[in-house]
């Protein structure tokens, strides 16, 4: 179990730096610091420059509706490891304006836009504060506690009409198409012309060519050697095979060279967090499977950690080992798929994917045998697991991690690594430098491929990761090729952990206490984070002691890694966009939530 909020000496220094300004958060179950909104920028700058908290992990808001307050919560860490620093600022709910930290931590870009979109916190000084997950024809800010959807059943689950009266009905009969949406006042979807696209395009960097190039056919390439080019805007997606889902990239091109790029997301948005705040704590577990559906075991792990921290319980020894085994198998599944799809994006159509999926299939069989489902595992419980490993599964895992997978990973290495096309497309393309990777809050393989040895499993060990012998994989160039190589490295490290875990796993119970469907979660806040295959996955949970969480926020690595996308693409060719996106490794279920 990690102890993020222990009062480490550096945190005390924050108080000393701002005597009388920064106060400790004294609410029971809370930790960190309260910062007045006027001095937020100074405190953030001091945290980064003087205290060394260079990595911003999460920004989110909490709507304290009864107190008429809106709180913005920042979690910052050091890339050298250790516990984090939490600071919060409170503003009135009706007029919630907070200075943007964009100038200090550029990685807040999408997260602040998300907080604006869903909670209506206005970040002054943000360069491009538009909605990000919702569209412009959406009325209100859905995560505000007084916001209600068009068909509102009840404040929280379980709904009372399900039992004992149980008169069944179909929600779509009560809510036919046409009545299932509310628009802002004066908004007519039939007549709407998407002005936001104009704003979006205007937000792109435009190279002023002084009207010299491309304006007339005579002038373009007039010297007879070079071809004149025009600056155009191209939309990649939303429906495009290379976007790994429904995702859009607006690219501004000068010829074939990328001038600027903006990702547009939200097409799969379902407001996971609002659903989560209606659910009971346990009900959220199967919903976390649907975030990054390649890594449902990892998602379960993060959420279980966050709630266990609040409850103050720990799983028994055997459950800890099984958790590690499942999390590391998930990493292998994910990286195999990533490498396969990256090769797809590079044009090696489906042969590498099929080889990768052959191995992935065997691991999914293990997941199916233990949890009942190949991808939507729903296997972790607070203080343990849903069930023990069935007979024979441990032997299968042992066979896989000791015999088959090491050889298959070597085979993929031999198959792809020295391929000249992969090297040419990958080396020196889509570069994200070390400093920019940290500043842009990149996480996971993307961060480590840029030369930052930051891995939550080592930086702030959770579960029983501190007992295993493994190395944090690091590559230094930050290009597409290194982001490919680091996934091979990580799979090999995962195999090392797995071999130790399978060897050492003890017998015994898999659940602390009795398995309960109504868990009692004491009031307070907690931030549980895990090193998911795609990066740092965090769950920020606030309990008020009720059966439902008051706030449930997901720090989604795929979403935040996209912040660096424009940086990686500028100056390269349009064909590299697809490969760069493939090397970041996103899953739209997690990006859009």
């Amino acid at each position: 179990m990690t102890e993020t909020q222990t009062a480490a000496p550096p945190s005390e220094r924050l108080e000393e730096q701002f005597p009388g300004v920064v106060t400790r958060d004294e609410r029971p179950g809370y930790s960190g610091y309260l910062v007045p909104v006027d001095s937020l920028l100074d405190v953030a700058r001091a945290a980064r420059d003087r205290l060394g908290y260079d990595y911003l992990s999460s920004v989110t808001g909490v709507d304290y509706f009864p107190d008429n307050k809106m709180e913005v919560v920042y979690h910052v860490y050091r890339t050298t490891g250790g516990p984090g620093l939490v600071f919060k600022t409170q503003v009135p709910r009706d007029d919630s304006v907070v200075p943007s930290l964009y100038s200090i931590y550029p990685g807040v870009d999408f997260q602040e836009r998300e907080a604006w979109d869903l909670l209506g916190v206005r970040f002054s000084g943000h360069p491009d504060l538009r909605r990000i997950l919702m569209w412009e024809g959406f009325a209100g800010h859905p995560l505000r506690k007084d916001w209600k959807e068009a068909y509102f059943e009840e404040e929280a689950k379980p709904f009372k009409n399900r039992w004992p009266e149980g008169k069944v009905y179909r929600i779509e009969d009560k809510l036919p198409v046409g009545k299932n949406a509310v628009f802002p006042e004066g908004f007519d979807p039939e007549r709407w012309i998407p002005e936001t696209d104009a704003a979006l395009y205007a937000g792109l960097i435009h190279v002023d060519d002084g009207g010299n190039r491309g304006s007339s056919p005579e002038r373009s390439g007039g010297d007879g050697h070079s071809i004149g080019t025009d600056q155009i805007v191209v939309n990649l997606g939303p429906q495009h095979p290379s976007t790994h889902g429904v995702f859009r990239l607006v690219v501004s091109l000068d010829g074939e060279t990328i001038v600027d790029l903006k990702p547009v997301m939200g097409y799969l948005h379902r407001n996971h967090e609002k659903i989560g705040e209606r659910n009971t704590f346990l009900m959220n577990m199967p919903f976390t499977d649907r975030l990054d559906y390649f890594c449902s075991m990892g998602n379960n792990f993060g959420y279980a950690l966050a709630v266990e921290k609040l409850m103050g319980i720990k799983p028994p020894e055997r459950a800890e080992y099984i958790r590690i085994i499942m999390a590391e198998l998930t990493r292998i599944v994910n990286h195999l798929a990533t490498i396969g799809f990256l090769l797809n994006d590079l044009g090696a159509f489906f042969t590498p994917v099929i080889y990768a999926f052959g191995e992935r299939e065997l691991i999914l069989d293990v997941f199916e045998a233990v949890s009942g489902s190949r991808m939507m595992c729903n296997y972790f419980r607070f203080g343990g697991l849903a069930r023990d490993l069935p007979e024979g599964v441990l032997e299968t895992i042992s066979d896989l991690v000791n015999e088959r997978l090491p050889r298959r990973i070597d085979e993929i290495d031999a198959y792809i690594t020295n391929n000249e096309i992969v090297r040419t497309r990958g080396i020196g393309v889509g570069v994200l430098t070390r400093d920019r990777a940290i500043a842009l809050s990149a996480a996971g393989p993307v961060l480590r491929a840029s030369g930052v040895a930051y891995d939550v499993r080592r930086a702030e060990p959770y579960g029983i990761y501190d007992r295993f012998d493994f190395d944090v994989a690091v590559r230094t160039h930050g290009d597409i090729y290194d982001r490919y190589l680091i996934r091979l490295d990580e799979m090999r490290q995962s195999l090392r952990i797995l071999q130790q875990a399978v060897r050492d796993i003890p017998g015994g119970e898999i659940q602390t206490g009795k398995a309960q469907y109504q868990v009692r979660v004491p009031a307070g806040e907690s931030y549980g984070r895990v090193e998911n295959p795609k990066g740092e996955l965090g769950f920020y949970v606030i309990s008020t002691g009720k059966p439902n969480p008051w706030r449930y926020h997901v720090r989604a690595p795929s979403f935040i890694n996209l912040t660096g996308m424009a940086e990686m693409c500028r100056g390269y060719k349009v064909a590299d966009v697809v490969a760069t996106l493939g090397s970041i490794d996103i899953v739209l279920g997690e990006v859009d939530r």
Partner: protein, 212 residues
Amino acid sequence: MYGFGIIRGLGVTLRHFLATYVDDLRWFFGRIGGNGGRYYNAEALAVRQGPKARGIFTVQYPEEKLTLPEEFRFLPFLIYDVDETGKQEDRCTSCGICAKVCPPQCIWIERSNDPVSGRPIPQPTEFYIDVDICMNCGLCAEYCPFDAIKMDHDYELATFDRMSHHIFDKARLSQPASYYASIRPTNNAREEEARAAKEAAKEAKAAKAEAA
């Protein structure tokens, strides 16, 4: 040498390509011995889907189907016991735990009332699951204290009309206990044992009370 990496990679492809045929031949010669070949053969399918698999691993669905692990879950179903006289009795007592724990809230239970006294009796009049909403998470089965609702293995549920077919009622959901024992033998044996132990403890307690 430029291009060597590609050639080496193609060697891997070639090896995969040949592996399927080598495996095919192995099973072909096995067939003379009477074991049935690489496809349409349960033994070969188990190898093709296991950690010793070589070559192409596709399954010839629907002629071939994957063997499901016992824990595999799809939709929930209700269990009824059949006594010696052939009378069916639902295990469900309509306590409502499954409806309360269900994350998407797809379970509707109508509790029975005694026609004379009007008091609730532990039997569901109706039990509905909207299978379009069900997310197959298995929490209902996990937290049912009476082993009355369990997850089914049947995944071939395509219908022509979702409007009229996708709210399953009690009749559609109910299965005999023997069916449950056939799809989940280990779980069933464990639960039977626990129930028998509970019964025995109860009887012992009653006997003790009588003696005292």
